[in-house]
């Protein structure tokens, strides 16, 4: 119960969306921009953003009468200029065999010129427009399905919704058309929505319809999580830049991936829906609050912020499954020496090394100055000690305070020994007791190397 209340503060509801985000951030001109698809298309293209090609538009009943139906290609999308929520969109996939004036829909239903004419008349009369005012109809090229998405999508083209606020991508969702949604990638109409890890562009959880969680594509054993979306950085870039062009402060950009052209911006939404929170199993308000007030100067910076702030869900999931934490190849490590001495350094995570070693100077600072001095003294200037047996070594170095062991270092000119001490390491907030050797690392990039013996509780992600 307590959790419910705490989580509810992270959620963005309809009231808060309208009052706190759409009203102040999406001014009339911006909303007009998003609602007028043809104009948006033109301006976005002018600003170098990829949009689907325009085949033809019909503005009046007179134009409808004169329209040359044979000029239409085999597949196209017919849309109302000011439609919303995916209403009034008619998509055909090919001509009906042997006929020049009939096409086939995703469902297999036949669409004749007469059907198109009625549909366009309804569009012109404003049946699908936001305010029921007269509208324009246009034909758009139909995008080609990416091979990767083929097994996941029923007929239509999946698209990626990215919510952008203050130039930062805050949440994203992949929408997969299903049989129920009649090939449309619209959640209200029964499409599948999957959450996306913003850092990697990998899908996480999935919902179908209003809020039903699912793991697999219906009727198959195809997992909906773990789909790696191609062109991820490009998709985020298009989303963020479309926000700058539109003048909207808070928007949902719909981006599809064409087999030949790559990511293409389908549509901008000034009133993005709230179901994206269910697909991601996370509240939007918490994320928006974290981005609010930041001064984000460039697209790159915004993308980086979004990735860092809201990515990493996949990583957390791996951590949960394996019980191990994921760290990168370089990590900040805190060393706890004698008498409460603490030093934080950047350490190289080296799975090729057996044990952990620290720079001699660092070891001195950690409280082993006397021990090292004594050790060096006993060593004298002998750096070759391969004629010593284990017993002889123990005798030679006995009585040195804090010395835990000695490490044998083989080099081209023989064997030398280094002192080892017991210290505690803190890697990614986990405390690891370790026996580390002190070695002169001056001139090397990292003063500390973390070896395998200290890495048992971690997985290393070299790309991190």
């Amino acid at each position: 119960m307590f959790e419910l209340l705490r989580n509810s503060r992270e959620l963005l509801g309809m009231n808060a969306r309208n009052l706190d985000y759409i009203r102040p951030l999406n001014k009339r001109s911006g909303r007009e921009f998003a609602d007028n698809k043809l104009r948006a298309k033109r301006l976005l293209r002018k600003n170098g953003l990829p949009v689907p090609g325009l085949i033809a538009r019909i503005r009046t009943h007179a134009e409808l009468e004169d329209f040359d139906w044979s000029s239409l290609p085999g597949s196209f999308a017919l849309k109302p200029n000011r439609g919303f929520g995916g209403e009034g969109i008619l998509i055909v996939y090919g001509r009906k065999r042997g006929r020049n004036d009939a096409w086939v829909k995703a469902s297999g239903a036949v669409v004749t010129v007469e059907d198109l004419r009625t549909h366009i008349r309804n569009i012109l009369d404003g049946s699908f427009s936001l305010t029921n005012t007269p509208d324009i109809a246009f034909f758009e090229e139909r995008l080609k399905l990416l091979k990767l998405f083929k097994p996941y999508a029923y007929k239509g083209i999946p698209d990626i919704r990215v919510i952008v606020f203050n130039r930062v991508p805050v949440m994203a969702m992949l929408r997969l058309p299903t049989r129920e949604s009649d090939g449309k990638a619209n959640l209200q109409q029964g499409a599948i929505g999957t959450g996306i890890d913003l850092a990697t562009g990998t899908t996480t959880s999935a919902v179908v319809g209003k809020s039903h969680l699912i793991d697999y594509v219906p009727g198959t054993r195809l997992a909906l999580s773990g789909i790696r979306i191609p062109y991820w950085n490009e998709i985020l870039r298009i989303a963020v830049e479309s926000q700058s062009v539109s003048g909207l402060g808070f928007l949902g950009a719909d981006i599809a991936i064409d087999r030949d052209r790559g990511p293409v911006l389908l549509e901008l939404n000034a009133r993005p829906g709230l179901s994206i929170q269910i697909a991601n199993l996370t509240g939007l308000k918490g994320r928006l609050d974290r981005v609010k007030g930041l001064k984000v100067k460039t697209t790159e910076r915004g993308i980086l912020l979004g990735k860092n702030l809201f990515g990493g869900e996949i990583e957390e999931e791996i951590e949960e499954l394996s019980g191990k934490r994921v760290i990168g190849s370089v990590e900040k490590v805190r060393l706890f020496g004698k008498d409460g001495k603490e030093i934080t350094v950047e350490a190289k995570i080296d799975t090729g090394a057996d044990s952990t070693s620290v720079d001699t100077e660092l070891a001195r600072k950690l409280g082993f100055r006397d021990a090292i001095a004594l050790f060096e003294n006993r060593m004298g200037d002998r750096d070759v000690l391969n004629d010593l047996s284990k017993r002889e070594r123990e005798v030679l170095f006995s009585g040195i305070p804090d010395l835990a062991d000695t490490a044998q270092i083989k080099s081209s000119h023989g064997t030398s020994y280094r002192p080892m001490f017991r210290i505690d390491l803190s890697i990614d907030q986990v405390i690891i007791p370790a026996k580390v050797s002190a070695i002169d690392r001056t001139g090397l990039e990292y003063p500390v190397i973390i070896g395998r013996k200290s890495l048992r509780k971690f997985l290393v992600d070299v790309s991190k």
Binding site: G13, M14, A16, L213
Partner: protein
């Protein structure tokens, strides 16, 4: 009945007390509808439909509930059937609504005749205006049906009826009406109340259910 001086004055100017009560109750019912939208999350067909249906129910009294609900239900039902029949003709929007209205009018006439024949005189004596109000709800219904489908339209119609029933319960409660007439200024409180509702950014009650899966996350 103890009227407030304001009420005494208004009634003194030959304004019927009934009219005055209705005008004062309208803001209350409208506020109820806005409360249901913003806090509970019940949408209905905007604010006009539930308010006007509330008063239509009142006008059907003494059998307000029985006849009101029956007529509302039959209007919606006939609207659905008509759409289903008209679908194949591919008509434009306004002509289609006009036909739907005609069919509903004829059906109402039929229902009234049927009522008279079975000696349910209460039905036939209903005044025409509440009946017309109910019929015009059809336009809202057909508009939503076209945009969002029959399912969504039926849900919204049910929500409209639900809000109207709550409103009806309130304004047909004699003690409440008496209170309003005794203290007409209290109706002004609906304004600050609506200001608060207009600034309310909390989750709607229905959203707690919609987002239950998210809320349950750790």
């Amino acid at each position: 009945m103890d009227y407030s001086p304001i009420t005494e004055f208004i009634v003194g100017q030959n304004v019927p007390a009934q009219t005055m009560a209705l005008l004062l109750l309208l803001p209350v019912v409208a506020t109820l509808a806005s409360f249901f939208r913003q806090v509970v999350g019940i949408k209905a067909f905007g604010i006009y439909a539930p308010s006007i249906v509330t008063f239509a129910l009142l006008a059907f009294d003494p059998n307000g509930l029985k006849y009101g609900i029956a007529i509302f239900g039959s209007v919606i039902l006939i609207g659905m059937v008509t759409r289903y029949v008209l679908r194949r003709f591919r008509l434009l929007y306004l002509p289609r609504v006009a036909i739907t209205l005609s069919v509903i009018s004829f059906s109402m006439l039929g229902i009234l005749v049927l009522g008279g024949a079975t000696h349910r005189t209460g039905l036939a004596s209903v005044s025409i205006f509440p009946l017309l109000i109910m019929i015009t709800i059809t336009e809202k219904f057909v508009a939503v049906q076209l945009e969002k489908g029959t399912r969504a339209a039926v849900i919204l119609a049910a929500e409209t009826l639900a809000i109207s029933l709550v409103g009806y319960a309130l304004i047909s409660w004699p003690a409440f009406v008496r209170f309003i007439l005794a203290h007409p200024w209290t109706v002004l409180l609906t304004i600050p109340l609506n200001v608060v509702l207009g600034k309310w950014t909390g989750l709607r009650l229905t959203e707690y259910f919609r987002f239950l899966t998210v809320l349950r996350q750790k």
